[in-house]
Subunit: 239 residues, 2 copies
């Protein structure tokens, strides 16, 4: 936790907040904080700044703070990911927020197991919790938007074309295709990544018909989460 994130419900006054949940545990056990310590704080969807711990005990911490710094820019990336298994989904949600992705679409695909759509990780609270962990890691306050698209064809045919307007569309798929192009600085990009085993040809064809280019990361087949980090790392580095 490199940033203590709070929301209106945590406020005692406009410049004082109180935490009594896992954020308190983190202050006590990981930061080994004491009264008088300075901590970085950020208001969810708001600004960031510093706070001073004025009370700290096993039941709550009270922090006086002021905010004066905007959240960092988001990566100009819309990520489309075939719904992964729940354990990997948690890590991907954290990473998406951590890297500063603005928008995530979790979509269905032939190779997505139907049971994944029943996962409790997909509840709004659970998604938000994972995203907040990512934001707290990389010091950001702006939650990415997460969309669930349980039907492949309506998404790709009806909604994807609008998403692609003015953006570079790339579908990462292990193949003999062109390597991932060098990212242009701040070129808005829509990036689709398939499930374990990849998109099926029918799906790749639909992405191409919508205007996306097929690209590959090289001869190695990376796990979905590593492919995402590897590609986002390239985009990060051009910021």
């Amino acid at each position: 936790m490199n940033l203590l994130l709070f929301k209106a419900a945590d406020l005692l006054s406009p410049t004082r907040l109180c935490v009594d949940d896992q954020r308190l545990q983190h202050l006590l056990q990981v930061h080994r904080a004491t009264v008088g310590d300075t901590v970085r704080v950020g208001e969810i969807h708001g600004e960031m700044g510093f706070g001073t711990i004025i009370e700290l005990g096993p039941e709550r911490a009270i922090i006086d703070f002021s905010l004066d710094c905007p959240a960092p820019d988001k990566l100009p990336v819309t990520l489309i990911v075939a719904l992964p298994r729940p354990k990997m989904l948690r890590r991907i949600l954290r990473s998406v927020a951590e890297f500063g992705v603005a928008e995530l679409y979790l979509i269905n695909s032939y190779r997505v197991e139907k049971s994944y759509w029943q996962s409790p990780v997909l509840s709004g609270d659970s998604i938000e919790e994972c995203l907040l962990q990512g934001l707290a890691q990389s010091r950001d306050t702006m939650l990415p938007t997460v969309h669930l698209e349980k039907r492949f064809k309506p998404f790709v045919e009806d909604r994807l074309p609008a998403l692609l307007e003015g953006r570079l569309g790339l579908v990462a798929h292990p193949s003999e295709h062109a390597p991932l192009p060098k990212a242009e600085s701040r070129q808005p990009t829509v990036l689709a990544i398939g499930p374990e085993g990849g998109f099926i040809p029918y799906e790749v064809e639909h992405f191409r018909a919508a205007g996306m280019q097929q690209v590959t990361l090289g001869p190695r087949i990376l796990r979905v989460e590593n492919a995402i980090s590897a590609i986002l790392g390239r985009l990060l580095a051009t910021q």
Copy 2:
């Protein structure tokens, strides 16, 4: 498992192998394989090819195979990582093998908890198991070399200079420093990544004195495993 890896002990004859461990479970449960199916196989530290399942049951699978394809090139990267906590270490070992890193040094650093050096993950068998999972994911047979360096100063002062000969040395550290340079195609690189919380100034100074440049991935503080994937992704894409 995109490649079934085997060693001499699995051979029934020079072109026939038998598996009865988690590789068998994977064939049965994930691949839902049947007799007659073709599977990709690779000999650890040897070539890759295809096999045909000639017997398959709950206790063993027998596969006839031929090898005709070399392992993919390694990334020309020597990675130096401050020893992470055991759970993250497992994922990093898998990723290092998956991305094709040739050599990994796990080193001590001020912010590495001493208990991490007692982790059972550091036993040779456990390291190899994690590396093999990464190789099986990305279809490679060459195990990376893993070195444990429990003392920071002797490593950086006595061994690092020789490692850096003819190579670009980079130490990734969140700061106001230069962004990660665009990787030159196949430029051999030594890359050091700190622990959670980063290297301390004394350590960064030692890396610089040894000839390494300090670079940053941007304003976001990434988890160690995401920083590794992000940087390796950049290097991958120039291959």
